[in-house]
């Protein structure tokens, strides 16, 4: 087995190779970080070329978890793909379900009862809270705060997962949304428990935001300019941290979001700290949304009585439909030829596309910062590799 070191000319554009192969600095070193590396959030590999400790080239390698989700989706019925969407971003199955259900509803022109729309918003915002809580735990883990913050984050997350379990029967693989509504209705006790959770949330965040070590490790690290972010298709909190206030809940106004009052936090610098801070502020907005939605949840059915699930067929046509997931824009592109299965089933995975700029963010930083920058992109490999 042999591998050749890249010549300095092959370095990525923008890389500044200070000194190569001189007696003082020595050669470039190529390190394969991952796939079995605790900081890569799963089975993800970065081929990093180092000059001393500085990154001069970084190529991400994917596919260790690839199972061709899209092919499975083309061979399954429309309803049969719903449980598979749970496995995309396995922290946020509720928003994946919603994105897919919404795409099929737009493909077939279905509508959803009012109560189901509110329930979807409640579940999506709970998912956002859950995801951002885990994010805060993970990024501190990546900074080197071993274990403790992550356990606090998981304690908070478990409260939300308990709610999901009592509603859908499963903690993480919820499989809850259907074309035309939701699978089950929330009981008054469930809603009471959700209100209690929302009122008590946020204790955890006080421990982190003013933390000096977090600030020292993240401020000024991995700056992402707004123009590059838009051009590279970055979405979600990562785009908003760069100062672009593009939130699909406001822009597309799907569901009942136009009726709810909330703000879109944006960052100023686009560095890792802003990516952290935007998520913390988003959690506060999510709590605001949850209070409003739980307060004004209307009665009625949660499933369109005319909706057909088994033997569902859509008229020939196609649709691209997207929602604001916790990690960014999650979209589904479906082509129907009138048959029981979609002819083409495509997922637009936010964390896969957010990785486009990983190299740009890491160049010139040390290898320890690479870990923090990767953590601030917030990837889940189930979605990156599909």
């Amino acid at each position: 087995m042999s591998f050749s070191l890249p010549s300095p000319l092959e370095s990525a554009p923008g890389a500044r190779v200070r000194a190569v192969r001189d007696p003082f600095h020595g050669d470039l070193l190529e390190v394969s970080m991952g796939p079995h590396h605790p900081s890569t959030h799963g089975v993800f590999r970065m081929n990093v070329t180092l000059d001393g400790e500085t990154v001069v080239k970084l190529k991400p390698v994917f596919g260790y978890l690839h199972r061709n989700h899209e092919k499975i989706g083309e061979n399954a019925s429309y309803l049969g793909s719903m449980p598979y969407t749970d496995r995309l971003d396995y922290l946020c199955s509720m928003t994946n379900n919603w994105a897919y259900a919404l795409a099929v509803e737009r493909l077939s022109g279905q509508t959803v009862p009012e109560r189901a729309e509110y329930l979807r918003v409640i579940l999506a915002e709970l998912t956002r809270l859950l995801n951002h809580t885990c994010f805060a735990g993970f990024i501190l883990q990546d900074c080197g705060a071993s274990g403790t913050p992550l356990m606090y984050a998981f304690r908070e997350r478990e409260k939300i997962l308990d709610l999901f379990e009592s509603l859908s029967g499963s903690r993480m693989m919820c499989n809850f949304q259907r074309f035309g509504g939701c699978r089950a209705d929330a009981t008054p006790e469930w809603l009471e428990a959700a209100r209690a959770l929302v009122d008590g949330y946020g204790e955890f965040e006080e421990l982190l935001t003013g933390n000096e070590i977090l600030m020292a490790r993240t401020q000024g690290v991995g700056r992402l300019p707004a123009k590059l972010a838009v051009g590279a298709g970055i979405t979600g909190p990562m785009l908003r941290a760069s100062g672009v206030g593009y939130d699909l809940r406001k822009v597309d106004g799907y569901g009942v979001y136009p009726r709810l009052d909330f703000r879109v936090p944006v960052g100023a610098d686009g560095d890792t700290y802003d990516r952290y801070m935007v998520r913390v502020l988003e959690m506060r907005e999510s709590i605001k949304i949850l209070r409003q939605a739980l307060g004004t949840l209307p009665g009625g059915p949660v499933m369109d009585p005319k909706a057909r699930l088994r033997g569902f067929r859509a008229k020939p046509g196609e649709v691209y439909s997207r929602i604001e997931g916790p990690k960014g824009e999650i979209g589904f592109f479906l082509i129907s030829d009138g048959g029981p299965n979609p002819y083409r089933y495509r997922v637009r995975p936010p964390s896969f596309i957010n990785l486009t700029v990983l190299e740009d963010l890491c160049l010139g930083h040390s290898i320890a910062d690479t870990v923090v920058i990767l953590g601030s992109i917030d990837i889940v490999l189930g979605e990156v590799d599909r």
Partner: protein
């Protein structure tokens, strides 16, 4: 936002010789798309990105679609006069022809600046053979970089002008394109030639009598 027909007219006014057509979407979503000819696709994409009324600066989704060869029935009706002097008859003539398949790359564009979209672009290859190419739009929108690599990997569309066209989800030695509709799975994905197989084959050549009944190794 402008309709696809208006965008087509603007493109044709700017690029007089180019081929632009609107592909209708019969479904309730009615997201009609623009089919661009490969020749000037990149120049037209740059125009869509920079033109003041559109400013489609955000390419959200890139994907491929595999359309197989299809048998199309053309129906032509013809009036035949009745030799007996009655009223003429209307006869339908059905002719079948084979419409060759093609691979298609679909781009969904939005504007972050003007908050509109989607505008759907389609590029088509001439056929479904192995090395079929369309121009890469990565120089226009950086977000196409990984997604075009994915289309290359899973569909086998070659993107001319892509800066780093390699397989992305399948491993580098993999031969086929799994998202094509006529893809056949191998018996064993993890089969790989080992030195052991070479030794066995050599032994068979040298000692035909002593070698066990020839059990062919499965083809990769």
């Amino acid at each position: 936002m402008e309709t696809p027909d208006q965008i087509r007219d603007r493109l044709l006014a700017r690029f007089p010789g180019a081929s632009v057509a609107v592909v209708a979407n019969p479904g309730p979503a009615a997201q009609h798309s623009l089919l661009l000819g490969s020749g000037e696709a990149r120049a037209m994409a740059e125009f869509l990105r920079d033109s003041p009324g559109l400013r489609l600066d955000f390419c959200s989704n890139v994907t491929g679609v595999d359309w197989l060869d299809r048998e199309v029935t053309d129906v032509a009706s013809k009036t035949i006069p009745d030799p007996a002097g009655g009223p003429p008859k209307l006869v339908e003539q059905r002719t079948k022809r084979l419409q060759p398949g093609y691979l298609e790359v679909v781009y969904h564009l939005y504007s972050v600046e003007l908050r509109h979209g989607p505008v759907v672009l389609r590029l088509r290859t001439g056929n479904r053979s192995d090395r079929v190419a369309v121009p890469s739009l990565t120089p226009v929108w950086r977000s196409c970089e990984f997604q075009e690599r994915e289309v290359f990997d899973l569909f086998g569309v070659v993107f001319d002008g892509h800066p780093d066209l390699r397989r992305i989800l399948m491993w580098d030695e993999f031969k086929d394109h799994p998202m094509r509709k006529d893809y056949v799975e191998p018996d064993d994905y993890e089969w790989e030639p080992t030195p052991h197989a070479d030794v066995l084959a050599k032994a068979r050549r040298h000692y035909p009598a002593a070698a066990p009944a020839a059990k062919e190794e499965p083809a990769p």
